[in-house]
């Protein structure tokens, strides 16, 4: 498979493959908002004692995906704003006897795959599914044209697929089989890094003979693991139906939900970045108090804690108290404070740049940078250096679209295919003029989606005139 653009950065604090289990918490703080979901439909009342796996809230906008209780405990609704707090956590797991909730009509109509799908939805595994094109939650009870399973993670730093599978290789293959049973004849693309290792070999051995799995090897370059990029490069067109995409943890969740009928509340997340003491993987549940993790892992005080990677992750704000159900890794960056003296004249021994020979670090071998949240320069007019176009994985011309948007010409930007932007953020990253390209494109995409396009209206107008 051929990829356009892409660029890797090497920053300090790459999580090791050690997986550590966090100590049992005293209380869990479950945020009601995550990047995709808003669990606005709260199903429990204050002061009730819930069992593990009980539905605490639902997101009515997203096919009623549930927020399940990761532990048995006492519900507090008013302790923290926008959180459901579970106190008095039971140490011994008390399993909920799943009341055989009747599957909705549509699920029964679909037969076994519909029932499985319903189970995924109610046990919290459906939340690991993404629509490859939009990144949103895909519609359940529908057969996609293909499923993409990505075991690679290229962004610094997300939980690594190999770390998650290594412990549960059997469960992984079982999960793949379940995925297949959701389909009729459609393929599953298993995306693996194109590296030689014992583990890669083992993984391949494990899925050998599964005719419906097509192994796709990708170079480990950010953002080759982006679902939209993968779907495009696999030639899957949106007009042929939805494409489902999930990562390693998603397949493991499918297995957990369908083999053991257990709620999917546990996760393996990564913790990494220049400001952590030991970068590793953590086995935990969502709702785990963030301050506990910060206290034992973060070495500095003025830091930015990011849910996800440094390119696409979102800043965790102070009012969020626990891990949200979509967090796949925590990256901790020191905030920018230093004002560098005569920065443009520094030799740049410790600065790695896309324009490699602009800094003396070009003479060094591979090394890990210690980046901060600094913009590292002032915003200037575009100098058409073309770096953004070179790194763009979508094959569009970010600098050109920027010029159109600068002139507030949304029509031209649309013609220049701003809609193809996948939001990887590489253009903003490399831009020497420090232009917020990715943010501008996301904004433009939103405006194009929301507004009735003037061009269409004009077109309508024209046709009306013609009929008159």
């Amino acid at each position: 498979m051929k990829f356009k653009g892409g660029y890797n950065i090497a920053i300090e604090g790459r999580p090791s493959s050690d997986v550590k289990t966090l100590p049992e918490p005293e209380a869990l703080y479950l945020p009601l908002r995550t990047s995709r979901f808003a669990f606005s439909d709260v199903c429990v009342e204050d002061g009730r004692r819930v069992k593990l796996g009980e539905v605490l809230a639902k997101d009515p906008e997203n096919y009623s995906v549930p927020l399940l209780a990761p532990r048995a405990g006492l519900v507090r609704l008013r302790t923290a704003e926008n959180h459901i707090v579970l106190e008095d956590i039971a140490t011994a797991p008390q399993h909920l006897h799943l009341a055989e909730e009747t599957a909705p009509h549509i699920a029964r109509q679909m037969g076994s795959s519909g029932i499985l799908c319903h189970k995924l939805l109610t046990l919290g595994a459906w939340q690991f599914f993404y629509d490859a094109y939009s990144g949103s939650l895909p519609e359940p009870f529908r057969i996609p044209q293909a499923i993409i399973v990505s075991t690679a993670s290229c962004e610094p730093f997300l939980a690594r697929g190999d770390v998650q599978i290594r412990r549960e290789l059997q469960a992984f293959s079982k999960g793949l089989e379940y995925l297949q049973s959701l389909l009729e004849y459609q393929p599953i693309y298993l995306v693996v890094p194109d590296i030689e290792s014992d583990f890669a070999w083992q993984l391949r051995e494990n899925v050998r003979g599964y005719a419906w799995i097509r192994i796709v090897e990708i170079p480990l370059v950010y953002p080759n693991d982006n679902f939209t990029i993968l779907a495009r490069n696999l030639g899957l067109k949106p007009e042929n139906g939805p494409v489902w995409a999930l990562r390693t943890e998603g397949v493991l969740a499918v297995d957990r939900a369908l083999t053991a009928s257990e709620p999917c509340t546990a996760r393996i997340i990564s913790i990494g970045g220049p400001a952590v003491k030991t970068a590793e993987h953590l086995e935990t549940v969502y709702g785990y108090p963030l301050n506990k993790i910060v206290d034992s892992y973060v070495s500095e005080t003025d830091v930015r804690i990011i849910s996800g990677g440094v390119f696409t992750g979102s800043t965790i704000e102070a009012k969020q108290l626990g891990l949200d159900s979509e967090c796949s890794g925590l990256t901790v960056l020191p905030e920018a404070t230093e004002r560098e003296f005569l920065a443009f004249a520094h030799p740049g021994w410790r600065k790695r740049s896309y324009g490699k020979w602009c800094f003396l670090s070009a003479l060094r071998g591979e090394f890990q940078e210690i980046p901060t949240t600094a913009v590292q320069g002032e915003e200037r007019a575009c100098i058409s250096c073309n770096f953004c176009e070179e790194v763009c994985p979508a094959g569009i011309m970010p600098h050109l679209i920027h010029k159109y948007l600068y002139n507030d010409d949304l029509d031209e930007a649309e013609r220049a295919r701003v809609d193809l932007c996948v939001g990887c953020g590489l253009c903003s990253f490399v831009c020497p003029s420090k232009i917020e390209l990715a943010a501008q494109f996301a904004d433009a995409q939103g405006r194009i989606r929301r507004e009735p396009r003037p061009s269409e209206e004009r077109g309508k107008h024209h046709s009306e005139e013609a009929t008159l």
Binding site: Y133, R232, K237, E239, I306, V310, F311, T312, G313, T331, L333, E335, A336, E338, R339, E340, F341, A343, F344, G348, S353, Y354, G355, K356, W357, C358, F359, T372, T373, A374, V375, Q376, G377, E378, R380, A381, C382, I383, S384, C385, N386, G395, I396, M397, L400, R415, A416, R417, L420, G423, G425, S428, F429, V430, C431, P432, S433, K434, A438, A439
Partner: protein
């Protein structure tokens, strides 16, 4: 360092909105940011950014101009330094003035323009002409188009073009013979009053009369000519840095030199009496300087890679034709300005084609 930072902090209120010198905010900002990079934090994705910024970008260009500058001082004396100072002061004043009027940041791009400009002038040109030229170049070539990033023409070339048309005698008939020996003219100050040092011809002028300068003299730069254009060696050294640091795009350079070499070789083969040998022509005049330092200006060249090839080839071909078939001995300046004019059109065609290819992507 700390004291300097404190000084800036102390002066800052005067330049704020209601301060006494509020109009001079761009000057204050520029001065502050030269010494201390701002510690702005990222507000949008991604959270981290590449350390390369425009200041660094432009410092690399200045660094890449250093070999040329050193060669110019060696061959033509300390006056070159003075010319650069004049160019910086006169052009910088215009830049600052426009920044204040527009309430915009002062742009680093000027540091390159002001440095390049004297290097494409005859080394004995009166200083007032240097000042007039750079002011004209910056105002007409850049500011009237809306400032850095929006200009159509390379401001330094606009300035030179203006001088060449207004003062043809000073710009094309008074040249300085290069220094020789270990120190060259490195410690001399020579201007047009030194009759012995003045010559009326550059190798390209002499070539029209059938006299070819030696190739090694051309390569090292031991010839009369514009201050920075004579030494092919120095230009190649600096040009190499520009290309490997990716500050300059390699496509226009290869396009210009490649098309120049191929067309020149073919024409020399067909009609050896009217077209000179190609290697000689590559090193003579301003071709190399133009190809590496002027045609690679990202603002005035096409923004698409395909366009950069077309642009390079256009300039290379135009240079061969102007040099050999017209009354002008040197064609690089006009060729690049021609390229500048065509750049938007070339881009338009390439962009149309690229968007046509993207039409089916989803």
């Amino acid at each position: 360092m700390k004291h300097l930072l404190n000084l800036f902090e102390k002066l800052r209120p005067g330049f704020e909105k209601d301060g006494k010198f509020a109009a001079f905010k761009p000057v204050f900002d520029a001065a502050e940011h030269v010494f201390f990079a701002p510690s702005t934090r990222t507000k949008h994705l991604p959270h981290v950014r590449d350390p390369l910024d425009v200041k660094r970008f432009m410092s690399i260009v200045i660094l890449a101009l250093m070999p040329v500058e050193i060669a110019a001082v060696y061959f033509f004396g300390l006056r070159i330094v003075l010319m650069i100072a004049v160019s910086y002061i006169a052009g910088g004043a215009v830049e600052v003035l426009f920044a204040i009027i527009r309430k915009e940041q002062i742009n680093e791009g000027f540091l390159v323009t002001g440095f390049i400009f004297p290097l494409i002038l005859p080394p004995t040109l009166p200083l007032w002409m240097v000042a007039v030229g750079i002011v004209f170049g910056v105002v007409v070539g850049k500011e009237l188009f809306g400032g850095t990033g929006r200009n159509l023409f390379n401001p330094a070339l606009v300035g030179r073009c203006f001088l060449a048309l207004s003062y043809p005698a000073a710009m094309s008939a008074v040249w300085l013979s290069p220094g020789t020996g270990f120190v060259g003219r490195a410690f001399q100050y020579v201007d047009a009053t030194d009759v012995q040092a003045i010559t009326s011809a550059t190798p390209l002028i002499l070539a029209k009369q059938g006299q070819l300068a030696g190739l090694s003299d051309l390569f090292l730069g031991r010839i009369a000519g514009s201050a920075g254009e004579t030494s092919a060696l120095a230009i190649l050294l600096g040009g190499l840095l520009l290309l490997i640091s990716r500050v300059a795009n390699w496509r226009p350079v290869v396009g210009i030199l490649g098309s120049f070499a191929i067309l020149g070789a073919v024409l020399h083969y067909v009609r050896p009496d009217s077209f000179g040998p190609v290697l000689w022509h590559l090193f003579a005049g301003g071709l190399l300087f133009g190809a590496f330092y002027m045609a690679t200006d990202p603002v005035t060249s096409p923004i698409t890679n395909g366009g950069r090839w077309v642009y390079g080839i256009l300039i290379g071909v135009a240079t061969v034709l102007i040099r050999n078939l017209t009354g002008y001995v040197e064609g690089v300046m006009f060729a690049i300005l021609l390229g500048n004019i065509c750049a938007p059109v070339i881009d338009e065609v390439v962009i149309r084609f690229r968007l046509w290819r993207l039409r089916d992507e989803r």
